[in-house]
């Protein structure tokens, strides 16, 4: 059952540190990766670059976001993928016509586990039965020729989503097919998806894709990497997430990536979320510049609603949460919002649930952005300062640990608990930290573990937590954190104590 032996970047290994993989090594790695499945042969980098260059601006993820920023618009980035090429074409055309200029290409679970023979069977069955027998688009089995048909079928720019195992080969096929973005994030793998992989292994996998993007960039084709960071499982101040986004950005930049898109997790507190939407790209820019990656573009920002919390299971509450997130994202002037569907708490969303969700989201986005509302108040300012101070302190500690090498630093920082996040899935994470909300719903630390948060900021958190403790006359501990974790699904920001 353990698949640690199968690595998506093939059998050839490189040394994992903050250093560009050298050309020769990279080409050897590519050979190994492309040999994982016959469609790998369809990838011809030179021809792919020509193909990419022949495409108009609306097919380039980076350029589309830059245009959205210019126009002051916010759009939804949905999740979608279906097994057969013809169905996928219909799906992406429908979404594009519904006003979605940026599209994902979500792969299926077999692809994610590199089980390509099973995909073949399932495709056969899908064709025969007329029903989708896979939960996504098997991009590797379909290969470049077929996937180009999908890409060319509508005016959107594409961004595939897949697993760590399949990341490298999916990227090869996707970019050769005209897709122009993909996550190079390694912290989500570590924190949320992969139980036993070390951070070093996760970074290693990620560097391949970044290097591939870098190769395209060298030839003048800008492919965007979206940066997710370590996802907070539950109520937790966002500074670790932001710091790890920046680490991922630096790692991508070193491999030659020229466009990075930070994905900011919105946790429900308006001032904190708007602060994060503003501070994240600002600090990312600062650190990129500091290390000389001045030519790396940050085309915009995406406000995310990754399922951090249990989602409301009633349709009313679900729409409340979805629209609220869009409201905050649009007020924060993010170019993209990524809400979950209203069926999030129930199961895999139906097509209707998808469509209704995006219509509600677009309603809010349009109506809010038209108004160009100025959002500034003391709280946003305070939260911005606190976030900036925390992220800076964390990053400096990481750099120190790595002696200036951000990769080495990150690996050591995880071992030392200098990077830590609650409820991690990975056995190598420390899991010594915890967050709760304060009495106005802002996320605060209650257990700092070994996080390098400056003392005066710790005091700030403690005071806020104490305020709520006094107000509610109970301790803010693990149990309170769990109550807060459930709150959003019950239409509240603050958890009520269980009887």
């Amino acid at each position: 059952m353990r698949r640690k032996d199968i690595v998506s970047e093939g059998k050839v290994k490189h040394e994992v540190k903050q250093k560009r993989i050298d050309e020769e090594k990279f080409m050897a790695m590519r050979k190994s990766v492309l040999s994982l499945w016959p469609t790998g042969k369809e990838v011809d980098l030179e021809e792919a670059v020509e193909y990419q260059k022949s495409m108009p601006d609306n097919k380039n993820f980076c350029k589309v976001i830059q245009k959205l920023r210019e126009e002051g618009r916010t759009v939804v980035f949905p999740r979608a993928g279906t097994p057969l090429v013809e169905d996928e074409i219909e799906l992406v055309q429908t979404l594009y016509e519904a006003g979605v200029p940026l599209l994902p290409c979500t792969t299926d679970s077999y692809t994610r586990h590199l089980q390509f023979e099973k995909v073949e069977q399932a495709l056969e069955e899908s064709k025969k039965s007329g029903r989708a027998m896979l939960n996504g688009y098997p991009i590797i089995n379909h290969g470049v020729k077929n996937t180009r048909k999908v890409v060319e079928s509508c005016g959107a720019a594409f961004n595939p989503r897949t697993s760590r195992l399949s990341n490298s080969l999916v990227g090869e096929i996707a970019f050769a097919s005209g897709m122009t973005a993909q996550p190079t994030s390694f912290f989500p793998w570590f924190g949320s998806y992969d139980k036993t992989a070390t951070l070093e292994e996760c970074i290693g996998t990620s560097q391949y894709l970044s290097r591939l993007m870098g190769w395209y960039a060298d030839q003048g084709v800008i492919i965007t990497s979206d940066l997710h960071g370590w996802l907070p499982n539950g109520v937790f101040p966002i500074s670790i997430n932001v710091a790890t986004i920046i680490i991922e950005g630096l790692v991508a930049a070193e491999q030659g990536v020229k466009s990075v898109l930070p994905l900011v997790e919105c946790q429900g507190h308006l001032a904190q979320d708007i602060a994060a939407i503003r501070v994240t790209p600002k600090l990312l820019r600062r650190y990129l510049d500091r290390f000389g990656y001045n030519d790396v573009i940050i085309p915009g920002t995406s406000a995310q609603q990754v399922p951090l919390f249990a989602f409301p299971r009633d349709r009313g509450g679900a729409f409340g949460y979805v629209t609220y997130t869009c409201f905050v994202g649009a007020l924060g002037e993010a170019e993209i919002v990524s809400p979950r569907s209203i069926d999030e708490g129930i199961g895999v969303p139906t097509k209707d649930a998808h469509v209704e969700t995006y219509k509600a989201a677009n309603w809010i986005n349009q109506v809010v952005r038209t108004q160009k509302i100025k959002m500034d108040n003391e709280e946003i300012e305070t939260e911005s300062k606190v976030l900036e101070t925390e992220v800076t302190a964390i990053l400096e500690a990481v750099l120190k640990l790595g002696n200036g090498d951000i990769v080495i630093g990150a690996i050591k920082a995880v071992d030392a608990g200098v990077l830590d996040s609650p409820f991690p899935l990975n056995i190598h994470a420390k899991d010594n930290v915890l967050g709760v909300r304060d009495s106005r719903g802002a996320c605060r630390y209650v257990e700092f573990g070994s996080l390098p948060i400056p003392e005066e900021i710790k005091e700030f958190h403690r005071a806020k937590v104490a305020e709520r403790e006094k107000k509610e006359n109970r301790k803010m501990d693990y149990y309170a954190a769990i109550d807060d974790f459930w709150a959003i699904s019950k239409g509240q920001l603050l958890g009520k104590p269980r009887k």
């Binding site: 059952m1 679970s109 586990h113 949320s192 998806y193 992969d194 139980k195 499982n233 539950g234 249990a310 299971r313 069926d343 708490g345 129930i346 199961g347 895999v348 969303p349 139906t350 409820f423 991690p424 899935l425 056995i427 693990y478 769990i482 974790f485 459930w486 699904s489 269980r498």
Partner: protein, 141 residues
């Protein structure tokens, strides 16, 4: 008859949703159980191995990603083969894909050999009460 019965927890198959099983494990520990916490992404065989090694009284499995049915087919039979005929088997989480009736899950997983089946957002105190009842009935508490 034990004072601190031993129970095994974890999410089965390639399900990575670890939060629920972590919360459940802590609640069981708080309630005085001896908890062997296997965490997420645990193959069915590992549950059995752990149960054998620790002489466990119950397995509380979680699954949220909708594919539990496939993961636990034949699990009861393997328990029997492994000599765990007496072990209490619970499962909880989101046990099917898309909108569906929880009652169908209950029927399906009881058929598959589970003693009790829990819906999302299940009340853990009530579940622990159930566990005590079932363990008492089997003379294990």
């Amino acid at each position: 008859m034990k004072e601190n019965p031993t129970v095994i927890t974890g999410t089965v198959g390639v399900d990575a949703h670890v939060i629920g099983t972590k919360v459940l494990s802590r609640a069981l520990r708080d309630a005085g159980f001896n908890v062997v916490e296997l965490g997420a992404l645990t193959p069915p065989e590992e549950f059995i191995k752990a149960a054998q090694e620790t002489d466990a009284d119950a397995i509380l499995m979680s699954s949220l990603y909708g594919m539990a049915e496939i993961d636990v087919r034949g699990f009861k039979e393997k328990c029997l083969e492994a000599g765990l005929e007496d072990i209490v088997l619970y499962i909880g989480g989101i046990l099917g894909v898309s909108r569906h009736k929880f009652a169908d899950d209950v029927a399906k997983f009881k058929e598959l050999g589970f003693d009790r089946v829990y819906p999302p957002e299940a009340d853990l105190d009530a579940a622990i009460e159930d566990l005590r009842t079932d363990l008492k009935a089997k003379g294990k508490l």
